[in-house]
Assembly symmetry: C2
């Protein structure tokens, strides 16, 4: 026997159960997106390298998968690559199709992306992203709707979450006020440890990270911020009094919190000044969502950007978007045992038969059930009953309808409930009722 075949490292096959679960996540998310008028688009797996290169930094460029036609001379440099995310293809799409699009453009996109990362636990070379954006409007209703979407998606999935929110303009204001505009990442990383290590240690770390004595001193009011998000924003107005951009950020956050209150959002939302997010195209609100009952990091994140399409020659278009992390959501639902049980049993009943005539009989019954939109299977051979039952077990089919000569003579089937083991002789109508119950 030949060597067992395999797939490239960092890639995955999804079997039926995984697919049913993944579809449950995607369908839940899609139906919420639709409630808000977001519509799906798809872009090609491969993009021109001129579209991809230079958009993800030097490190990102190295993680691109390049594509070559096998018919082409190997000497030719590749001109195409697999998409690395859905954001750059989206920006390319908006610019390329700007004449056909009616703005504000509300789109979502659920497709795989590819990165030549070193595979490790929870990190794959092929994985799905699930992005939702509204572009072509700077209205903060965009932020509100994404927050409402987060609330509704996780309500439907049954995952308790906290949404952390911050604003890049506030971070820029802080850096401006303390005179350390290039240190904003160092500042957020250090402040993030406040709860764990305390003020003294944070200040020590800030100095180690190159902040001046004055800068650290200027930061102290920030470290002492407490209370509700509204109280923190109030205090920030004093701290950022001399920063125009900082005050703009505070005003934006106040408006977002006003909108949240006015529309009765129940989601757990926390103004988190330590939230920075790495991507440098964010210019306003930034979000991250964490599951409260699982230790897994951010399961959704995103933010406002003012110039995403500028890289393709269309400047000044503001948008806001978030991305749901399907793999992590899958892991949370698994860990908390939140997947609906019925996902596994797509087929409602299996017909098991003792002979060829019974098989034909079963096929006619199956047709009637399918006409009622009930998913059923007929075991394709009248083989050993044990084998047919084993098939039903393996596929977690809840009912088996057994057909022998006696059943046929009475125009019935012997219905076995695979959960309770109960058996009863039923007519077609009773069979339909038993399954639908």
């Amino acid at each position: 026997m030949a060597q067992k075949p395999s797939i490239p490292k960092g890639t995955r096959d999804f079997g039926q159960i995984e697919m049913a679960r993944r579809n449950y996540i995607f369908n839940t998310i899609k139906s919420v997106f639709s409630l808000y008028g977001f519509q799906q688009i798809e872009t090609p797996a491969m993009e021109n390298l001129s579209t991809l290169m230079g958009k993800y930094g030097e490190e990102g460029d190295k993680l691109l998968f390049l594509i070559q036609n096998s018919g082409e001379k190997a000497a030719l440099a590749p001109e195409k690559g697999l998409r690395y995310d859905l954001t750059v293809p989206f920006a390319r799409y908006v610019v390329q199709h700007r004449e056909e699009i009616s703005f504000p453009f509300k789109r979502f996109q659920i497709q795989p992306v590819w990165r030549a990362d070193r595979p490790q636990k929870g990190r794959y070379r092929e994985f799905y992203q699930c992005d939702v954006d509204v572009i072509g409007s700077d209205s903060l209703i965009g932020e509100l709707e994404l927050i409402q979407i987060v609330e509704e998606v996780y309500r439907r999935l049954g995952i308790r979450v906290c949404l952390h929110i911050n604003n890049r303009k506030i971070l820029a204001g802080i850096a401006e006020v303390i005179g350390a505009p290039d240190k904003i990442v160092d500042i957020t990383v250090a402040i993030d440890k406040l709860d764990k290590i305390g003020v003294e240690a944070v200040n020590e770390e800030l100095k180690e990270r190159g902040l001046s004595y004055e800068a650290v001193a200027a930061l102290q009011p920030l470290l002492n911020l407490s209370g509700t998000s509204a109280e923190k924003l109030e205090a920030l107005k004093d701290i950022l009094a001399n920063s125009e951009i900082g005050l703009k950020g505070v005003a934006e956050m106040e408006e977002v919190f006003d909108l949240i209150e006015a529309t009765g959002v129940k989601l757990n939302i926390e103004l988190d000044l330590c939230l920075a997010r790495g991507l440098n195209y964010y210019t306003g609100a930034i979000f991250e969502v964490k599951a409260l009952d699982a230790q897994i990091g951010s399961i959704t994140g995103g933010g406002r950007y003012d110039n995403l399409t500028g890289i393709f020659g269309l400047p000044g278009v503001s948008g806001v978007g978030i991305s749901f992390g399907a793999d992590r959501i899958y892991d949370v639902l698994t860990e908390l045992d939140l997947f609906p049980k019925e996902l596994l049993s797509a087929t409602q009943a299996l017909f098991a038969t003792f002979g060829n005539e019974e098989l034909y009989y079963a096929l006619r019954w199956a047709k009637e059930l399918r006409a009622q939109n009930i998913a059923v299977e007929v075991y394709p051979e009248p083989t050993k009953m044990k084998k047919q039952m084993g098939y039903a077990d393996a596929k977690q089919i809840p009912f088996v309808a057994i057909v022998g000569g006696d059943e046929m003579a009475q125009n019935k089937v012997m219905l076995k409930n695979m959960t309770t083991g109960e058996q009863k002789l039923v007519e077609l109508e009773e069979l339909i009722q038993s399954i639908n119950r």
Copy 2:
């Protein structure tokens, strides 16, 4: 302004309308697959080249897209490629996961494939395939169920079709009987022209294609076959009397037609001895489906194979499958204007507002509607009414709920029906009823 960005030739972006229509096709097909107990799997876009190479003939190998990590030395030969179809990855999947699979294994798979073909009208370098197979049983109930699925899918889509069916064993029998085992393709191609060019010309062509005088003479009874499929099969029993494999093929077809009759299949089905299908792994029944009201070639095709997994070291596993051609189905539905109209209007109502207070009011109403599972949008700025209306028009939103001071004062909105132009002042309950009607 920079040059407008573009995508690689032979690839496509799918906008919201195209996606709504494509999803309609895929969802229709998926729901029918599910009625028969077929479950979805997915495999990675990239496979090891050892999995792909040599499976599609020399020509096919040249059409593979090869993948390289950009970080790797260019001198390294690529080890991965994009999948060329879903059949080889499925065979690889079955062999790799055979311990976990309960046979007969009923799976479907809807994913893109990539081929470095010369792009032309209707031929793309990236396109979706939609395959359904049952593997691990040689029962002809597999054939029956695929025929039932074809019937139900096209009934739901509203496309009138004819299913052409043949059997590779019958073709092998014919070649055996006339002593020209290597000429079966030439024979079917020539016979296929019978209606158009007549018997004389067909015989001429057969000789030109290298058939001996005796072989052409032996073929004559075949050219004169007429009547129903049952009558043709009866006649074939005489013609193929000396071919064991040929008679086996006839017996298989008779059983398939028995099953079709016993289960009341209404589909237009024709035994078509000219149907050959190019792929050499077929060993039994072969199918092709043609739309009756559109000139577009085959929109679904497939057949029985007895050794697909043999290439990966697991011989003797029989299966049968078909593939739905999504792009062609899309074209037929477009040509015949069969897409449901409501696909285009996912959003049921747009709230248009005259001011900021109205905007907050609209957001609260929108929340109520969404809680009733009604998809609505709020235009994110209280800008010119013309612009807000234009947005509703462009997205084909059927209702606009206009909110001004008067409406707010009465706790109502002015509901405009965008089809009829009618306007009326309504309360929340009436709004919900109007939209649901």
